[in-house]
């Protein structure tokens, strides 16, 4: 474990700072667009009568984080990194839409069955998952095998080490 890991972290933070500026400048317009698309999709999940003024879910911060992770990667050739970005960014945007649809459906349908407190927390689940988890998982799925030899070596170390031999 030498400098590449630390280098990755430093590059990730630098790229995240760049994409934070993009997120800050584009967030309002992006969320307006997301709201418009969401409004078009609501009838498909039986919520045609629901009107949503504005979606506020910190989008597209997770796409910025994902882009920073892709561009900070070092062990993968540039072409593959950009390919991962081209596949992952629209995938994350689609997951955002699914999450917000899930949130709207939960907010409308769940309170009758489970009470408002549980409904609120359940409704937050898809959005929290998209914002906090999905970028990392998509990056791991597309670039993790080449970028994190830790996972492979950690697994092998565990399998090969006799019980009680680890310090």
């Amino acid at each position: 474990m030498t400098s590449p890991g630390l280098g990755w972290s430093a590059r990730f933070i630098a790229w995240a700072a760049v994409f934070f500026c993009v997120y800050w400048m584009s967030s309002d317009r992006y969320q307006q667009g997301l709201t418009a698309v969401l409004q078009l999709c609501l009838p498909a999940v039986g919520l045609g009568e629901v009107v949503i003024d504005r979606v506020q879910i910190y989008a597209p911060s997770e796409i910025g984080v994902y882009a920073a992770m892709c561009l900070a990667s070092v062990r993968t050739p540039w072409r593959r990194r950009l390919g991962a970005l081209a596949i992952g960014a629209p995938l994350l945007a689609a997951l955002e839409l699914v999450a917000v649809l899930g949130m709207a459906a939960a907010a409308v349908h769940l309170p009758k069955h489970v009470g408002p407190g549980v409904a609120r927390r359940l409704a937050d689940f898809p959005v929290n998952t998209v914002l906090l988890v999905d970028a990392s998982l998509v990056w791991l799925a597309l670039l993790g095998a080449t970028e994190i030899p830790f996972l492979r070596s950690g697994s092998r170390a565990k399998e090969s080490a006799p019980r009680g031999s680890r310090r």
Binding site: M1, G5, W8, S9, F12, I13, A16, F20, Y23, W24, S27, Y58, S61, E62, G64, V65, G117, V118, R121, L122, F125, N128, T129, L131, L132, V133, S136, L137, L140, A141, G144, A145, T146, I148, P149, F150, L151, R152, S153, G154, S155, R156, A157, K158, E159, S160, A161, P162, R166, R167
Partner: protein, 179 residues
Amino acid sequence: MARPGGSHLARSQPRAVSPGRTIRRFIVRFALTWTLAYMLLVFLPGIESAVQRATTVSVGLTLRMAQVPVEIRDATLNMDGVTFEVIPECTSLIASILLLSAMVSFPTAPRVKALGVVAGLTGLWLYNMLRVMVLLGLAVHDPDLFSFIHLYLSQAVTLVFVWALFVTWLRVAVARAGT
């Protein structure tokens, strides 16, 4: 000490695990642990309210120790006439279950996981206390900057901090597992 018989030796060799398969396993375990931990929070609301109160009290007492006059009441802090409610999003709860899920899902020794979880959750708690104190100061002295930090920066910084903790722990975990 040499073992008699080649078959035992062959069995003790590490199996070749493809990186893709290891990653897929990690992703599945991580997604399941995250969902399970989140559902515990959903259906046991006492956890959320206890963490809200604990966050309020720890921030309030720290500020008092720093000679900052602050009033603590349930999950609210009052400073210079500004009331600041510590809502669930102001706690480190969600970031903690994110970090915990990642550490628990990673294939390494239980002791290394336990140490990582304790150190990581402590680090997140301290980071969150600092975040709330900064936000509280901004709410009192610079409400415009407060809105900017609260709406845009805080979420992204939290995610980057969780990643930094996880990657740091990963390096330690693998170094220990390899020894």
